[in-house]
């Protein structure tokens, strides 16, 4: 009873807090100064048509590095926690998966992978980018595991892809210090013609590595939580 009262008081307190915070919020009619600067000079300074990509990769590139690191850390802890107890072999009978799903997954999985790669290569032009592309690649992996639940996904391959792309991401950032203005600056390569695929300097290359890294990390989480995987 005391606990319920406490929860009720806490919720009322939150309502009061948010009411005070947003009581006179009537919606924006113009951009603030920072966003105005990004909108006005983003295409000259960075050269990416998708301004969200410009903010994620260049203006706030260090934050992205930190967030990818957090994701790596959580994937590593998940695999550490689940590694010790997978020795019990499971004798439960599994039904064979249907032939239709098997055949369809053989057609669909390459298409899904190609779509994921398309999404992160075109991240500077259209909606999309490394994070979405990585999630799409991990969904393709889920389809493989649904069609063949006993299939072993090579943990070694996942960790190699993850390490190489993470290392390349940091090295490209350091190259920005050496050859351009600062960490993760994209002007190492020329900015190119605005709106074409070979533009925006280093952004497509960085986003390819971010996509591979995110895809590998999400795949590692999924294969660790999936039931019949043995650790290599």
């Amino acid at each position: 009873m005391v606990k319920n009262t406490f929860i009720f008081v806490l919720l009322v307190g939150f309502v009061f807090l948010f009411f005070n915070l947003f009581a006179d919020f009537t919606g924006n009619t113009e951009l603030n100064k920072l966003a105005g600067h990004y909108a006005e000079s983003g295409h000259e300074e960075v050269g990416a048509a998708n301004l969200v990509t410009a903010v994620v990769v260049t203006y706030r590139g260090l934050d992205t590095l930190g967030e990818v690191t957090i994701l790596f850390l959580s994937a590593a802890i998940v695999s550490f926690l689940l590694k010790i107890e997978t020795s019990s072999t499971d004798d439960r009978k599994l039904r064979t998966t249907s032939e239709i799903l098997d055949t369809a997954s053989k057609i669909l999985v390459p298409v899904i992978f190609i779509f994921g790669i398309y999404v992160f290569i075109n991240g500077h032009l259209t909606p999309g980018g490394g994070f979405q592309g990585g999630a799409i690649i991990a969904s393709g992996l889920v389809l493989i595991l649904l069609a063949k639940p006993l299939r072993q996904i090579s943990q070694k391959l996942i960790s190699i892809v993850e390490s190489i792309s993470g290392l390349s991401f940091v090295l490209l950032g350091v190259a920005g210090i050496l050859f351009a203005a600062g960490f993760l600056d994209n002007k190492i390569l020329s900015l190119g013609e605005f709106g074409t695929i070979f533009s925006a300097g280093l952004i497509p290359i960085i986003y390819i590595f971010v996509g591979l890294k995110v895809g590998a990390e999400l795949s590692s989480i999924i294969t660790n939580l999936q039931e019949n995987q043995n650790e290599a």
Binding site: R95, T96, I100, A104, I107, L108, K148, L150, R151, Q152
Partner: protein, 123 residues
């Protein structure tokens, strides 16, 4: 000339949305899960196809992406509904009272579909 093409495309898109509405109506009206899955899948596949063809007529410069979308829907929609119906049959979702025949169960009896672990770890 331009407006006729627009009108044809609009009619196709509208008929597609009518089919999607019929599918949604079928989800409410049908007696058991398997009939509902059939109504939802068949009607919505045809409806989406008609809508996409209407879009293709109105804006021909998007043909590549639209045809890819059609192929994708053509593969994924029936497969996913097949998997849903199969799983529902295995966990024993009851059929409607008016059901005459259950082919899957008969086949299971005569051929005794393999219920064992398939060793397909390396392929």
């Amino acid at each position: 000339m331009d407006s006729t093409i627009g009108i044809i495309g609009a009619i196709l898109t509208l008929s597609g949305s009518i089919f999607i509405f019929l599918g949604a109506l079928g989800l409410v009206r049908m007696p058991d899960l398997f009939n509902r899955i059939q109504a939802g899948t068949k009607a919505s596949t045809l409806g989406t196809f008609l809508s996409l063809i209407g879009l293709l007529i109105i804006t021909p410069q998007w043909w590549g992406k639209l045809i890819l979308l059609m192929i994708f829907i053509l593969i994924t929609n029936p497969v996913s509904s097949h998997i849903l119906a199969r799983a529902a049959h295995f966990i024993g979702v009851p059929l409607a009272d008016k059901t005459v025949t259950d082919k899957y169960k008969e086949e299971e009896k005569t051929f005794s579909i393999k219920d064992e672990i398939k060793n397909d770890t390396h392929d």
